[in-house]
């Protein structure tokens, strides 16, 4: 059953370093290529301007497979406390 990523993941965009590892993991897992434009998570500069932080969001295709969350090393993507 497909989960809603917003229900299971906590996103802290202010911590996003823009490494794009989440996007590369996702596009590789589902399309066998390294291609951020195919990822089911979007990492965009806030207001299109560098230095002002980023907007992090999941696309409707996201299956909440956890892969990107496990690989975010900067604390921007975390599992919600399920307790």
């Amino acid at each position: 059953m497909r989960h809603n990523p917003a229900d299971v993941y906590e996103v802290q965009p202010e911590l996003c370093a823009g490494c794009l590892i989440c996007q590369l993991r996702c596009s590789y897992a589902f399309h066998h290529e390294f291609n951020p434009s195919m990822a089911r998570i979007s990492i965009a500069p806030s207001g299109g301007i560098y230095g002002q932080g980023r907007m992090v969001s999941f696309t409707p295709e996201c299956t909440a497979c956890d892969l990107c969350v496990k690989h975010c090393g900067y604390g921007a993507l975390k599992f919600r406390d399920q307790s």
Binding site: E14, L15, C16, A17, G18, C19, L20, I21, L24, R25, S27, Y28, H31, H32, E33, F34, N35, P36, S37, M38, S42, I43, A44, P45, G47, G48, I49, Y50, G51, Q52, G53, H71, G73, Y74
Partner: protein, 643 residues
């Protein structure tokens, strides 16, 4: 969908004079002979950068290339290179940048971009997959890098990388530079070359993506390296502070050189004024290059200067301390960040400028130059003077312009008395003083064709007190040949020979696009590099073959510079390093071997160079690759140009 693997498979040629745009297939076989990436840049430079060409001539190309593994998930692998004739030093140098310019290029379907010619009006180059366009830049010409990048990134949207120059580059300041996404420095002297072409920026966005030949095999090594980074006991520190966490260690070791190379900056002052505790209060968050797990670029709050209240993004905040903080004797970290930020916005090489300010103040104090030379500006090491000189340099006017023209031009102007005090190699700015620690990185500042510039692949001999066993272990990791001549066992530590091979290892990292910074490069060894290369490109290489390809690439780089007149005569140390003393508290540091067993005299230095050229298989008298060596490496076409 892109049909190539590992390599994107194309080179983009842009002529700004005619407006012609060509996309040509990359000859992967040729590229792989020199690994690709950095090595392929050198091969292109050999053909395209003609001896005698002026740096600002339309024919001087800018050759941009991404490392072979860039664009993949190989950890901390996002380096992009630019090769061009440098205006300040006249060498053919290759500069390094990061922050997604290389990755977006690969995802757009290009390994290299070669820009030649000169546009009659300001333009920027837009590359979005197959859509390549020379666009009008008149609305952003004159804007600083911060403003111009905002305009361009707003136009292009989320995934674009923007490499941009500021007013300094537009005004042909020799030490102007390019910033990628406002943050990653790209070419300490490349800004003016873009300026001479009226090229304000290169904007790249890629959606074609990149495939590898054997994904399962590739990801197995990626996962192992990822895990090894996770297990790094220093990982928390890297994420929290990046390279900045090394500040107290370097301050203690003596790497903060002050007072025009005469003394070491006091350790306690460095830590109190500029240390991690002060830094943490200003840091907002980390910034990372693509696929980097140890992102040490930073966004922070400015509290001083013209842009107080704004945020700044720095590639290496430690540079603010090494440059302005220490050299210009600033009072606070806020002042140092304000100076670095100002230099960045104008697109000036901060480190070079601060070094030259330090030197000029020394000359002024010694009476070698006077207030008549400085245009009425009393020279001091302080914040106000630093800001004035940055502003003058960015406008390419008054005394600041003389300094920002670079070492060679300034020395010509101030004469031989001034030259005696100058700290440069081939016009390039050293990062480390060998009197503190004399290792491969510091000796390499003499032999680097680009001029003094460190290649600290893990900073192996920048740290003090390591034992010979460590260097033996590192030699194996770096794929050195088994050879007792390479021992770093004292006495008789064979630094010149060790360096000859160390440069090949640095070239492996460059070819693949792996970051030099110690938290990144320490993840890799020659075996992992060969495995990733094979899995990504489908070209089977052993670690030994990969290192051989690196040697071939480095020979091409050296050969290009030999054609441009450089050789052993230019592989020099500044006189003060060979003969002078550096004060560290009560002590005097003089040039000594790494293990601090014996002094190194000028003739010992020459012997090290003899060993180095001999190990390279180059002519010992001239320091130039021999025809025999080039043929041995399979570089017959280039060999024909050499005796």
């Amino acid at each position: 969908m892109n049909n190539n693997v590992g390599f994107a498979g194309r080179i983009l040629y842009v002529d700004l004079t005619t407006g012609q745009i060509r996309k040509e297939p990359l000859d992967v076989r040729t590229a792989s002979q020199v690994i690709g990436g950095w090595g392929m840049n050198a091969l292109l430079a050999y053909d395209l950068i003609k001896p005698g060409v002026h740096a600002y001539a339309p024919e001087n190309p800018i050759i941009v290339g991404a490392g072979v593994l860039v664009g993949t998930l190989s950890p901390c692998c996002d380096k992009v290179f630019a090769t061009y004739k440098c205006p300040a030093t006249h060498v053919v140098g290759t500069a390094v940048g990061g922050n997604k310019l290389g990755a977006t290029l690969k995802w757009a379907g290009y390994d290299h971009v070669v820009v030649t010619g000169e546009s009659p009006t300001p333009v920027y180059l837009k590359v979005v997959d197959d859509d390549v366009e020379i666009c009008d830049a008149s609305a952003i010409w004159g804007k600083n890098i911060d403003e111009a990048t905002d305009v361009l990134s707003r136009e292009r949207g989320a995934g674009a990388a923007v490499a941009c120059i500021g007013p300094a580059g537009e005004r042909l300041v020799n030490t102007a530079m390019v910033l990628i996404n406002k943050c990653s420095t790209f070419g300490r002297t490349m800004g003016g070359v873009l300026g001479s072409k009226k090229l304000k920026a290169i904007v790249v966005e890629g959606t074609r993506g990149l495939q590898v030949a054997d994904g399962r095999r590739f990801m197995k090594t990626v996962d192992a390296l990822t895990e090894s980074h996770r297990q790094d006991p220093l990982r928390e520190q890297w994420i929290k502070l990046g390279l900045y966490f090394i500040l107290p260690v370097w301050a203690k070791a003596g790497h903060f050189i002050a007072n025009d190379g005469a003394e070491v900056y006091p350790e306690n002052e460095a830590v109190e004024r500029f240390g991690p505790a002060v830094y943490e209060k200003l840091k907002r968050r980390s910034e990372a290059c693509a696929a980097c797990m140890a992102g040490d670029k930073v966004v922070l709050d400015l509290r001083e200067g013209k842009f107080a209240g704004a945020t700044a993004s720095f590639s290496c905040p430690l540079v603010a301390v090494l440059a302005f903080g220490v050299k210009c004797r600033l009072e606070t970290l806020d002042q140092a960040f304000a100076c670095l930020d100002l230099a960045n916005r104008y697109g000036l090489d901060a480190l070079g400028l601060a070094n030259m300010v330090d030197w000029a103040v020394g000359l002024y104090e010694k009476g070698i130059i006077s207030i008549a030379d400085t245009g009425g500006l009393p020279l001091r090491r302080d914040y106000e003077t630093s800001v004035i000189l940055i502003e003058q340099a960015a406008r390419n006017e008054r005394f600041g312009a003389i300094l920002a023209a670079g070492w060679l031009a300034a020395i010509r102007r101030f004469g031989p008395d001034a030259e005696r005090y100058a700290t440069h190699v081939k016009g390039g700015d050293p990062d480390f003083d060998p009197r503190v620690t004399f290792g491969v990185e510091t000796l390499g500042q003499a032999t680097n064709p680009r001029g003094a510039h460190d290649m600290p692949a893990g900073g192996i001999m920048i740290a003090l007190g390591r034992q010979p066993e460590f260097f033996a272990k590192m030699a194996r990791r770096m794929g050195f040949p088994e050879n007792e001549n390479l021992s770093l066992e004292p006495p008789g530590a064979n630094l010149g020979r060790y360096l000859a091979h160390y440069e090949n290892w640095c070239t492996v990292l460059n070819g693949l696009g792996i970051c030099f910074r110690m938290q990144s490069s320490r993840l890799y060894d020659a075996a992992a590099c060969a495995e990733l290369y094979t899995a990504a490109t489908g070209i089977d290489v052993t670690p030994t073959q990969l290192v051989e390809a690196a040697e071939r690439a480095y020979n091409v780089y050296r050969a290009v510079n030999a054609l441009h007149g450089f050789g052993r005569k230019d592989d020099r140390f500044p006189e003060k390093w060979l003969k002078g003393a550096l004060r560290l508290g009560e002590r005097e540091l003089r040039l000594t071997d790494y293990f601090k067993t014996a002094p190194v005299h000028p003739n010992d230095f020459e012997r090290m160079l003899d060993d180095y050229y001999d190990e390279k298989g180059w002519d010992v008298a001239t320091g130039v690759p021999t025809r025999e060596k080039l043929i041995e490496l399979g570089l017959e076409k280039i060999a024909a140009d050499f005796p």
